[in-house]
Amino acid sequence: MTNPNGRFGIHGGQYIPETLMNAVIELEQAYNHYKNDPAFNAELETLFNEYANRPSRLYYAEKLTKALGGAKIYLKREDLNHTGAHKINNVLGQALLAKKMGKTRLIAETGAGQHGVATATAAALMGMECVVFMGEEDTKRQALNVYRMRLLGSEVIPVTTGTATLKDAVSEAMREWTNRIDDTHYCLGSVMGPHPFPTIVRDFQAVISKEIRQQILEKEGRLPDVVMACVGGGSNAIGTFYHFIPDEGVRLIGCEAAGRGIDTFETAATISTGKLGIFHGMKSYFCQDEYGQIAPVYSISAGLDYPGIGPEHAHLHDTGRAEYVAVTDDEAVNAFEYLSRTEGIIPAIESAHAVAHAMKIAPEMDKDKIIVVTISGRGDKDCAAIARYRGEDIHE
């Protein structure tokens, strides 16, 4: 899917300072070497299976299916991975790659804290130094994850610039990388940023759709009608879509965070409200004003609170291969509670955006249709914030 220059259609590219160019070229060369190296892949597979608890389950949500009264719903349980989210897939891959490249220090950005925790975990496992940049606003929303990262031996740096959320954490991590390149790998957490990151992260996350394909064929003897996932930068979604892209009969649906609604300024739905732009190393769609100033986006979910979307998603949108829908805070919170009560599974508020859309489309579909929803992470981290959203006075 990637052109040699890191383009997905018109999207992607390498819009970064000259200071970083040799670093991304070196990364691309190393990745091209190791991705075909059997020893590297065997080592990564062992980490996936023995450490991260892969393959993750494809669970038939019978209660949910019956309650909604339409299509059969399967949940891809990335929430059961070590560290509680899909983020570990990418991080183990990148940390192993960085180690092979002789790097001794990882830096990362984080929104909800899931990618930061995953990076801190991999750094602990592999004996690497780790610094995580997190918007100050998010350190308050996700205080427990801040402690978790510190417990794992990482330094957490609160970012106070701009909106003090995920986009500012990415900017600050990029600034830090230009400051210290020799021993440092920037472990980017989503399918975004300059080439080769969107390709590397997609490849490490593609294990999700590789497993879904195999598991659904075992269980149902056929491919699903719909696969869906939430989209911020879009790493769990691209992982969920990737091995189904050639299967035209499988609908791919990405669920963006509409925040308080796509007709308000308090939204993070990039495909619905953004336009083409260049930011954070890539050409893609971004929420921005008429002069190209990046918009201060909003979502209840810190992990989807990002003004852009990965370039491969932008391309899948352009070609019409994937559909992108917007889900509001309210709908996501309802889904968060609904899945908890019907299946005893508390999803991350990010993943609840995908569950919310499944709740909309499943009842309209025939009972012999199949939907797979990726539960990208578990929702323990969100309980206090959702309780507060419902007016309860709970603090961690």
């Binding site: 220059n5 590219g13 390498q14 819009y15 970064i16 300072p17 000259e18 200071t19 970083l20 160019m21 040799n22 670093a23 610039t161 701009g162 986009k167 500012d168 900017s171 990029m174 600034r175 230009t178 400051n179 210290r180 390149i181 336009k275 083409l276 732009g277 260049i278 930011f279 954070h280 190393g281 971004f286 921005q288 008429e290 002069y291 190209g292 100033q293 990046i294």
Partner: protein, 259 residues
């Protein structure tokens, strides 16, 4: 040959940077005129961007203040048009790719030519991505300025060969901002640049003191200073023209060997 070359005819060039609209455009205008009077050879005018990833805290702060004050690309175009009635030295815009791209690259560059801008610096557009911008600039007689960094190594020749206006040599790793010491072996890099182009080379990032500038000027054709100036503006606000002019005078003297 573009007008930018003229900036390097008066000994070592001193190139100050200023974020347009911090604290307001009227003040920016006063400071630009004062800097020209004080010996600036070329001025970089920053169009603020919400998320300037190549900037340190001082210029980030300037960008945020300018945007909060309501500055836009169109207001800056009108401002430069007015400035050009009496400011004669070369002027270049420094901003980020999305500011140009979202305005419409063709429309942006055409306007630059009309209002008397001589060059464009986009720190988030490396050699590999310049096709989006450089050909349009060439068509309208605007120099698209290339940057070379301490990490460029094997890329120096490739970049220098296609350089226009001047080569912007980044002094050290990291973002913009004042540094007490610059350790990069800049002589080796400037020698390599000169093997590949006769385009003048100016050094920027981290320079704030006359003695530092004087030492670095030995191996280059010009010195670029941004954060130290924006810090003075943050301190003196609307009354910054005089202290900034004093600073520019001292820097120009230092790099001319007159300090």
């Amino acid at each position: 040959m573009s007008k930018i070359r003229d900036a390097f005819k008066n000994g070592k060039a001193f190139i100050p940077f200023i974020t347009c609209g911090d604290p307001d455009l009227e003040t920016t205008g006063k400071i630009v005129r004062a800097m020209e009077q004080a010996g600036a050879d070329l001025i970089e005018l920053g169009i603020p961007f919400s998320d300037p990833t190549a900037e340190g805290p001082v210029i980030q702060g300037a960008n945020i203040r300018a945007l909060a004050g309501g500055v836009t690309t169109d207001k800056i175009f009108a401002f430069v048009k007015e400035l050009r009635k009496d400011v004669k030295i070369p002027l270049v815009f420094m901003t980020y790719a999305n500011v140009v791209f979202s305005y419409g690259t063709e429309r942006f560059v055409k306007t630059c030519a009309e209002i008397g801008i001589d060059g464009l610096i986009l720190p988030d557009v490396p050699f590999e991505e310049k096709e989006d911008f450089a050909p349009v600039c060439k068509e309208h007689g605007i120099d698209f300025i290339s940057l070379i960094a301490p990490t460029s190594e094997n890329r120096i020749a490739m970049i220098a060969k296609e350089a226009e206006g001047f080569v912007y040599l980044v002094s050290s790793l990291g973002v913009t901002g004042m540094r007490s010491e610059i350790r990069t072996d800049l002589n080796t890099i400037t020698a390599k640049i000169r093997e590949n182009t006769d385009t003048p080379c100016a050094i920027g990032f981290g320079i704030s003191k006359p003695e530092q500038a004087a030492a670095l000027a030995d191996c280059a054709d010009g010195i670029i200073v941004g954060s130290a100036i924006m810090k003075l503006i943050a301190e003196h606000g609307k009354n910054a023209a005089e202290p900034v002019a004093d600073f520019v005078r001292a820097m120009k003297q230092a790099i001319s060997g007159e300090a």
